[in-house]
């Protein structure tokens, strides 16, 4: 190492130090603390505080409520993100193809996304109202028990989530669509490619990278989904809409079982990290092959 490199290096360390320090105190320290809590039986109100080893995790392994919450979380994530991507791309293409009113369309789309989740949940609570809700009135005589039927409640929550966050995907895709050079389309036209071929062979591949980013963001959000189901159904009926984060909230904040609740938190953390890591790898390989 030359002298200059050494100086640069030292300066680099110095410059990165505040960030490392901030991240360390704000995320690593609490993170380690939660991990430590998860290895204990800790219920302050009852004066319970003793080392538990892996007890909390062992209980999670046989806990049917956790299994149900994990399944709900995964179904919710996969379905809502898939629908958001399909509808988001469709909406972006539709706006892109428009001649006028693009700005109005975009603003309307963003309106849904800008609304706080709790407001959206309240809105959908009225839409799903069993007797006076718009959805049931539109369905005529076939009133559906949207939030009280164990087979309908999760789809109802997913629908609300898709409505709320599809615009995020749409806006990202729309921005990418604007950046695709017109020559590509002209060349395709010269080659005699039809509309479908242009879409499949040019537009969608050009959207692939931005979609991977959008999916990553949305999947990480969906894995931690909380507010919509908390307000709409409280996790019911029969726990069919209870995600892991809702379960963790009940355990941690309502019943104050800090040890067991922390174990749940650690599981959510591991799940989210695993997905993020897998995605980043995928992004890297796709970057190499692209």
């Amino acid at each position: 190492m030359t002298r200059r490199e050494a100086v640069n290096r030292r300066r680099g360390v110095l410059l990165v130090a505040p960030t490392v320090l901030a991240l360390g105190t704000l995320t690593v320290y609490p993170g380690v603390w939660v991990l430590w809590l998860s290895l204990q039986h800790r219920i302050p109100i009852f004066g319970v505080s003793r080392f538990a080893g892996l007890d909390n995790y062992a209980f999670l392994a046989i806990d049917s409520r956790f299994a149900s919450a994990a399944a709900t979380t995964i179904i919710f994530t996969v379905t809502s993100v898939a629908l958001e991507v399909v509808l988001g791309v469709a909406a972006a293409l539709a706006i892109h193809a428009q001649r006028g009113g693009r700005r109005v369309a975009l603003s309307l789309l963003l309106l849904a996304w800008a609304m706080p989740a709790v407001v959206t949940a309240k809105l959908f609570e009225w839409l799903y109202h069993p007797t006076a809700g718009l959805l049931n009135v539109a369905l005529g005589g076939h009133a559906l028990n949207w939030l009280g039927d164990p087979h309908l409640a999760l789809p109802a929550v997913i629908l609300a989530d898709v409505w709320r966050t599809m615009p995020f995907v749409a806006v990202l895709c729309y921005a990418r669509l604007l950046a695709i050079p017109a020559e590509l389309y002209e060349a395709a036209q010269v080659d005699g490619a039809g509309r479908l071929a242009t879409l499949v062979l040019i537009t969608l591949p050009m959207l692939a990278r931005i979609l991977l980013v959008a999916i990553l963001f949305r999947a990480l959000d969906a894995l931690r989904a909380f507010d919509l189901m908390f307000v709409l159904t409280g996790g019911g009926p029969a726990g069919t809409t209870e995600t892991i984060t809702v379960y963790a909230y009940r355990v941690l904040f309502q019943t104050l079982q800090l040890g067991f609740g922390s174990a749940l938190g650690v599981v959510v953390f591991v799940l989210v990290m695993a997905v993020a890591w897998a995605y980043l790898r995928l992004l890297r390989t796709s970057a190499v092959t692209a």
Binding site: T131, G148, D149, P237, F253
Partner: protein
């Protein structure tokens, strides 16, 4: 420059002496105004009587200022706010309004001032016994009952009269009445019996009432969990049966108090289980059911054994870390006093916890149903009084809900609830 490091400790020392002196003279140096902080949920109604009551306390205690601070809107958020602040050991409030189900929990955690020694021996006699029970834990009194609720059966007097029916005393009569009236009325929008079956605290309340009507309970005298599982399963089967037989609508499984109150208030149901607050709204000008509603006790299993409604309500407790415990107790006592409760009952739709107010001429003029409510409050039963109540409730909610929507058999739901509760309660014994 050299003297600087020495100056700081000296200043600190002076500050410390001053602070010690402050703490030493029982918290109130001459002329120093005292501020008490009172945490409460905003009272809805014609006029919030609270500010006036707080000013009256200040007038009676010169040099004391009372700051009323509003709690968050939902019960979950209120509980969370209390827990974080009380566990953090610097609560920043002296008197707090508590949902009655939190009193044993907070008492057990050591957050509340034991009021037993501050009370005169007969001071709690004028209150409803079930409200006093809810504020008592481990033989000590931790909170004063402030307002109260009890589960009631509302019915449509016009519909019952038209079909020659009397208010139902038993579950069987209620079901038969629903069938008869709906068959004759031929109104597809008219539901039978509305109650709360959404997966939340209200569901536990409704199931408890069904348990009691069936002669069983959630926690036995000695703390056993669901001591008679067969009877408990029977009660769940009855509730599920109401939905299956369409006596109660399918959406009961998503129904909370307001959803059912609105449907009944729009004239779309014959019977409704709800709290006393609903009466005021049914009798409001412009209500579709004005003058057509009355309430009675919840149906029982057999004639002559009316069902007990679950009680709820708010209590006032004093933080153990209050710097002015005597004044804080005085404030809690002032707010739960007879005049204060009368003012609250007049200004807002909240029911008092003192029995004599239910026969107070001024109040009865404003709320003609009050004498009737007295008997029903008297019959009411509190939910299990245990510091682990929220743990118990949040554990049984999904199980009860599963039985109501038919995902689990009632027996299975009860067995699962017992197993899970057993595991969690074992950890805190």
């Amino acid at each position: 420059m050299r003297s600087r490091p020495q100056r700081a400790p000296r200043a600190l020392g002076a500050l410390l002496v001053w602070l010690l002196a402050l703490g030493g003279c029982a918290g109130r140096p001459e002329g120093e105004p005292v501020t008490l902080v009172f945490k409460y949920a905003r009272i809805l109604g014609r006029a919030d009587p609270l500010p006036g009551l707080l000013r009256a306390f200040e007038a009676a205690h010169p040099g004391v200022r009372v700051k009323g601070e509003a709690l968050p809107w939902t019960s979950d958020d209120q509980h969370q706010l209390y827990v974080i602040n009380l566990e953090g050991r610097s609560p920043g409030f002296d008197v707090m309004m508590l949902d009655c189900i939190w009193v044993p929990e907070f008492a057990r955690a050591g957050w509340l001032l034991d009021l037993t020694a501050h009370l005169r021996p007969d001071e709690l006699v004028p209150y409803f016994a079930s409200a006093v029970t809810a504020g008592t834990y481990d033989g000590r009194v931790w909170a004063l009952p402030w307002n109260m609720n009890v589960g009631l059966l509302y019915y449509r007097t016009d519909l019952l009269a038209r079909h020659g029916l009397r208010p139902p005393e038993t579950h069987a009569e209620l079901v038969a009445g629903v069938r008869q009236i709906r068959a004759a009325e031929r109104d597809p929008a008219l539901e039978g019996y509305l109650w709360q079956g959404k997966q939340y605290e209200g569901l536990v309340v409704n199931v408890l009432e069904a348990f009691w009507a069936n002669g069983t309970r959630l926690l036995g005298e000695d703390g056993t969990i669901l001591p008679e599982p067969a009877r408990a399963a029977d009660a769940l089967r009855f509730l599920r049966g109401l939905i299956e037989a369409n006596v109660s609508p399918a959406w009961t499984t998503a129904a909370d108090e307001e959803l059912t109150r609105r449907a009944f208030g729009d004239g779309h149901a014959i019977f409704l289980r709800n709290w006393p607050y609903a009466m005021e709204l049914f009798e409001a000008p412009g209500s579709a059911v004005r003058g057509k509603v009355a309430f009675t006790s919840l149906p029982g299993r057999a004639r002559g054994a009316a069902g007990a409604g679950s009680t709820g309500g708010a209590h006032l407790a004093v933080s153990r870390r209050s710097r002015h415990p005597e004044l804080a107790v005085a404030l809690a006592r002032h707010l739960t006093s007879q005049p204060a409760q009368r003012a609250i009952a007049l200004g807002a739709a909240l029911s008092p916890t003192r029995r004599d107010l239910y026969h107070d001429p001024e109040l009865v003029r404003a709320h003609p149903g009050m004498p009737r409510l007295d008997g029903l409050m008297l019959m009411g039963r509190p939910r299990p009084v245990t510091p682990a109540y929220l743990l118990v409730s949040s554990t049984v909610q999904p199980e009860f809900s599963a039985a109501l929507v038919g995902v689990k058999s009632p027996e299975r739901a009860i067995a699962d609830a017992r197993a899970r509760l057993g595991y969690f309660l074992e950890a805190i014994r």
